[in-house]
Structures are given as structure tokens and as C-alpha cells.
Symmetry: C2
Subunit: 208 residues, 2 copies
């Protein structure tokens, strides 16, 4: 099938204005370095105020965020990153460790009063809670990246770390499991390499 050129699609099909579409999706890039400017507490609160609006199954909201601000905590985190992620994580103005709470069912009376009767069912099924926690927190992580961009930040999400080590440092004695570390800072305009190829519509989608 002949495909409509992307530029035409984006002009004619979006309700989001071109400037916002660029900032949120099209020109935003994963960053390995940042402007040196500090990230305020208020900016982090704004990022969370958007992130928390993400839809999750039954509104379980398993995502938990540890803002790693102090130099001491940063060193403890970096010790568990793979070598290629150490320097950029040390230098980032802010770093967020994203975890999911495997005991999200305990909050159901608050997050989903209509489903509070299911607390005992979930309490007895660790594998189900683990899977739902991980899956929904990753959807929330997508929103977190978008929320950071909405607050003018560039993000550097990384899976390259020893999750057990990070959990021992920051999640000890809790039901949280770390799954993503995200460097944050104001963009510095440095592009390390060309953007990698994105799969075409006809490769990644099909109509039935």
C-alpha cells in the first residue's frame, strides 16, 4: 500500500501542535550528557504530577521513584551500574531509580476501592502481583519519560545495572524491585550519534 508521507500525517492528523510534538516525541533524544544546571525539587514534583496520571490496571500504580540527589547516594548507585553507564550517571544533574512495588495490593482500598475485595486473592498470588507490578510500572515509565520532557528535561533511561545490588542499596527491607535508572537534566544540545532506525508502519503493524 502507498503510505502517506510522515510530514503530511503529522501536519494533518495531530491535535498536538508541532512544537509540542517535537519536544515530546520527534526531536527528543536519549541523552548521555546534560547542561550542568541543577534540577529543583519543584521540577521533580511537576514531573511526578504528570507521571501519576498514567493509566494502570485497576489503577494499581506500582511505580516507585527514588530521586538520587546526594553525592553519597550517587556513588552507591553507580557502583552497581555497568561500566559504560558509570560516568554519565555520576555526572547527571539528577538520577531517578524506578522500582515497582510488588505489594501494590495493600493499597487497593485507596487506589481502587471497588476492587478492595480482591486484596486476599492478590495476597496469595506472588507471581501475579510480580507480573502486574512489572508490566504496569513499565507503562508508567513511558509516562515518566514523557513527563520529564514536558518539564523541559532530557532523559537517559538505562537498564544496564545490577538490580539486586541496587535493591540492596535502596530497596532493602521493602517489597520494591528496581527496573530502570533514568538520568535527568536540562538538554545540552549534544548529539552523540545519529538516531537509530525505527521500524516502519508496515513492519511493526498489520490490519485484520
Amino acid at each position: 500500500m502507498t503510505r502517506t508521507p510522515t510530514e503530511t500525517l503529522l501536519t494533518e492528523e495531530l491535535i498536538l501542535d508541532p512544537h509540542a510534538a517535537a519536544a515530546m516525541f520527534l526531536t527528543a533524544r536519549t541523552a548521555n550528557s546534560f547542561d550542568a544546571g541543577e534540577i529543583s525539587e519543584e521540577t521533580l514534583q511537576a514531573v511526578y504530577a504528570l507521571t501519576k496520571m498514567a493509566p494502570t490496571a485497576m489503577n494499581i500504580q506500582p511505580l516507585r521513584i527514588t530521586w538520587v540527589r546526594s553525592a553519597e547516594a550517587r556513588e552507591r548507585l553507580v557502583a552497581h551500574m555497568v561500566d559504560g553507564n558509570k560516568a554519565k550517571t555520576l555526572r547527571a544533574p539528577m538520577v531517578a531509580v524506578l522500582s515497582y512495588d510488588t505489594d501494590w495490593h495493600e493499597l487497593l482500598p485507596t487506589t481502587a476501592p471497588h476492587a478492595a475485595g480482591m486484596v486476599p486473592t492478590f495476597a496469595g498470588n506472588d507471581a501475579l502481583r510480580q507480573g502486574m507490578g512489572a508490566n504496569n510500572a513499565h507503562i508508567q515509565a513511558g509516562f515518566f519519560i514523557m513527563a520529564a520532557r514536558a518539564a523541559g528535561l532530557a532523559t537517559g533511561p538505562m537498564g544496564g545495572f545490577d538490580a539486586a545490588g541496587v535493591d540492596a542499596e535502596f530497596n532493602a527491607g521493602t517489597p520494591r524491585k528496581s527496573f530502570l535508572v533514568v538520568n535527568l537534566g536540562k538538554p545540552n544540545g549534544i548529539v552523540d550519534r545519529e538516531r537509530l532506525h525505527r521500524l516502519e508502519f508496515d513492519v511493526a503493524t498489520a490490519t485484520v
Copy 2:
């Protein structure tokens, strides 16, 4: 700690204009019904043109989308939805089945030429591919929901279906696994119930 009021944060901390922030995060709601208007092929292409920009580990892009447009395919899908999701999925102007490709490593020479040497490593580790596929496709699903909103659509994401049954219908003979069904349509303004509680900053985040 005293927290800055959310309205102040959103006014002072976002680069996204208030109209866009509302459409993308703050007033957007999960929809159970839609305006009857049909969703064009061009709109779906625009949704994908934004979705595909999501960051994924090594750019593996495991997300695959099946657009369920025909009445016949819709019936086959709905047969595998839980009862509470059947009627709304039948009536939605468009439905997308989101799956992840567990054989994403085969595309690494295209998606991540710098990592193509790792194809044999990933080929020999089904559990690693499965986990990375699921996790990264869920981040992409977060972007998909945002992309649909950017194209003026409301979304109704649902985990309530028999994934094995859906895979037998739509993913037979492929390495794809379905994980989310998303109803799509233009918003009709109907709000079924008050928005559920979102966890506060001090509950879901901590600073170290």
C-alpha cells in the same frame, strides 16, 4: 515537607503549554465508549509515527500492533475478552492488539547495527529475550497511549483477556505475544465515574 500546590507547579515548571498538558496528561481519561466517527488509516499511521520514537533498550522496539478493523476479526477478538470488556470492545471505532516480538534479536542488524554481534547471545537466551521484549514493549505502550492522545483519540487499555486465545487468533505461527488490547476512538465526553485516587509525591517517591 510543605509541598508546592500542583497548580503552581504545572504553571511554573512545564514547558508544555497548559492545553497540551491537559490533553496529554491531566484531563485525558481512559474511555469505555467513544464518538461513533470512524478512525482513518492516516490517523493510525500518525499514531505509529509518534509511537515508534519511544526509547527502548538497544533500540530493540519489540512492540507489534494488530489493528482490528473488520467486523469478523473484532468478533474473533471479543470471544477472548473477559465479559466486562466484550461490549465496549465490540463498539469501539478501532481496536489495537499490542503484542511483543520475542524474536526481536533477529532485527538487531537493522535496529542496532552496533549490537548485531550479540545476536547469537540473545538467540540462546529465551528468558532474557522474553523479559526484555515484555518490559520494553510496555514502555512503548505508554508512548502509544500518549501518541493516540496526540492524534485526538481517547484510549481504553485493557489487560482483561485470554492472551493465549488472542495469540491463537492473531499471532499463530509467529513469535509474538499479546499483552494489551486498546480501544480507540474520538472522545465522546462521557465520564463513567470520578477519577480514581493518584498516589501523592511523598507516598510514591523518596529522595536519597
